[in-house]
C-alpha cells in the first residue's frame, strides 16, 4: 500500500495513493496504522504530493556502494568503510519542490537512494528482525555540495542545507512486493533540455544490507516512528545547475523529481 501526504484545497492530509498513481484517498489517521478512509478522494493531478513524512531525524549511511566510494573518495571501500551521518529535518522537501542552491555551495550533486521509513520506536534491533520495525520504503535524494563536504570534513553542512533532502513520492509499505536486495536505482538528469540517465545501479551493490544498517544504527540510537534511513548512493552522481531537473527512479516504488534553482 502507498501512503502519501498531500496538500489539497482543504489543507494537508495523509492519503492512500492507488497503484496506478491516479487517485488519493484521504485517511483519518496516519501511515502507521491500517487506513481508515474518510470517503474523500481526489484525482492525484488535482493535489500536490508533499514529503510523505516529517521525520524527527534522518540517519544516512555514507560510502555504502563500492563504486560510489571510488568515484567520490578515490579510494577503495575496503579502506573507507560505511559511516553514519545525519541530515537535519529542515532539509526535507517533497516531490516537485525546488532544490535551492546557495552561492557558497558549489559542486552540488544528486545522490539517488532507497530510503526506509521507521514504523515504531526501536533500539538494539537484530539484523534479521529489521522488517518488523520498518513501515515502508521510499526514495530520497541525498543532495550534497561536494566542495563543502571535503572543505568541512564533517558532512552536516554540505548535506544539510535547506531543500537538500527531497523525499517521496510516497511510502510503499508492502516490503515483500519487491526483491529489496535486487532493486534498480536510477537517476535521470535533465540539463538544457537533454535528459540523460546518470545513475543506473542496483541495491544488490550495497555493502551494508538493510538488516545490518538497522542493527548498526539501533545499537547506538533509538529510532522513532517516521524517522528516515538513507541507505546509500550508488555511483553516477554528478553536479547539478540551476535550471536542471533531477529525477530519481526506483521501479515499482516510483519517481522522485525536483527542479534545481538558485537560492
Amino acid at each position: 500500500m502507498r501512503f502519501g501526504r498531500i496538500a489539497t484545497p482543504e489543507g494537508m492530509t495523509f492519503a492512500v495513493i492507488d497503484d496506478e498513481g491516479t487517485t488519493a484517498k484521504q485517511i483519518a489517521g496516519t501511515p502507521f496504522t491500517e487506513p481508515e478512509y474518510t470517503g474523500k478522494e481526489w484525482p492525484l493531478e488535482d493535489v500536490r504530493l508533499l514529503a510523505p513524512m516529517l521525520p524527527s531525524k534522518v540517519v544516512a549511511i555514507g560510502r555504502n556502494y563500492a563504486d560510489h566510494v571510488a568515484e567520490v573518495f578515490k579510494q577503495s571501500a575496503e579502506h573507507l568503510p560505511p559511516t553514519l551521518f545525519l541530515k537535519p529535518p529542515t532539509s526535507v522537501i517533497g516531490p516537485g519542490a525546488a532544490i535551492k542552491i546557495p552561492e557558497f555551495a558549489t559542486k552540488v550533486e544528486f545522490e539517488g537512494e532507497l530510503a526506509l521509513v521507521v514504523g515504531q520506536p526501536c533500539k538494539n534491533v537484530k539484523a534479521e528482525d529489521w522488517k518488523s520495525v520498518i513501515r515502508g520504503v521510499t526514495i530520497v535524494n541525498d543532495v550534497s555540495s561536494r566542495d563543502l563536504q571535503f572543505a568541512d570534513g564533517q558532512w552536516a553542512r554540505a548535506k544539510g542545507i535547506d531543500t537538500f533532502c527531497p523525499l517521496g513520492p510516497w511510502i510503499e509499505t508492502d516490503l515483500d512486493k519487491f526483491e529489496l536486495d535486487n532493486l534498480p536505482i536510477k537517476a535521470h538528469l535533465t540539463h538544457e533540455g537533454t535528459t540523460e540517465t546518470k545513475q543506473d545501479s542496483n541495491s544488490n551493490q550495497m555493502i551494508m544490507k538493510f538488516g545490518e544498517i538497522i542493527e548498526f544504527i539501533t545499537a547506538s540510537m533509538t529510532l522513532l516512528p517516521g524517522d528516515v534511513i538513507c541507505t546509500g548512493s550508488p555511483a553516477g552522481t554528478e553536479a547539478m545547475a540551476p535550471g536542471d531537473f533531477i529525477e530519481v527512479e526506483i521501479p515499482g516504488i516510483g519517481k522522485l523529481g525536483n527542479p534545481v534553482e538558485r537560492a
Copy 2:
C-alpha cells in the same frame, strides 16, 4: 529569567525557576512567551528537572576552541577550522539522568559547553542580530566516544549515542545579565570518590563567536524554536568510566551534573 521543564507527581510541565534555584513555579505556556503563572509551585527538591527543551535539531560547532583542537586533533586550529555537526534529538537527556556507555563506545569523554536555545524560526541571520533569534542560554555536555569519532570519520555515531547529550539545568533568558563572551566554563569529574576540575576555560577562547555561529548556521539551515546550538568545547576533556559523575558548570547559569553508567 530561568525556564525549566520539570517532572512533578502530576506530570511534566514548564516552570520558571527562581534565582536561588529553590522553587519551580508552573507556567501555562512555553518558555517562548512571557510567563503566565498557574499559581502552582513546588520546592525544586520535590520535582525532577528534565532537559529544558526537546529540540527538533541539535547543531554543534566542532573545533571552536584552539586548545581543544590541539589536544584532540594534534593540529593547530589554523589548519582545522571550526566545522558543523549534528547530534540527534534522541541523544538528549536532562540533569541527573545517566550517561549510558555501550560496550563498543570506548574512550568516552565529556565536553562541557555553553548552548544557545533558538527562540524563533530564522534563516540568513546577520551576526550582529544573533540575540534577536535566541531565547536563552543553557549548558550542554557534548559526550563523545573519541575512538568511534576517529574510526568513523563522521562524528554522528560517536556523539549521537542515546544519552550522549545532557542538557540543562534550565534556559536562562536574560542574555544581558552576563558577559557572554567572557564566561568561565568548567567541568568537574568525580572518579572513585575524588573530584577534580578538568575543564577550566572561558568563552573568550572561542574561535567563532556567537554571532558568527548563528550567521554561519543560518546561511544553510533554517533554525526552529527550541533548536539547540552547542558552541564548542574548550580543552580539558577526558575519558569517563561507569561509576563516575560529571558536572559542567557555567557560573551564573548553573550546573549540569550526570552520573555515568554502563549501558
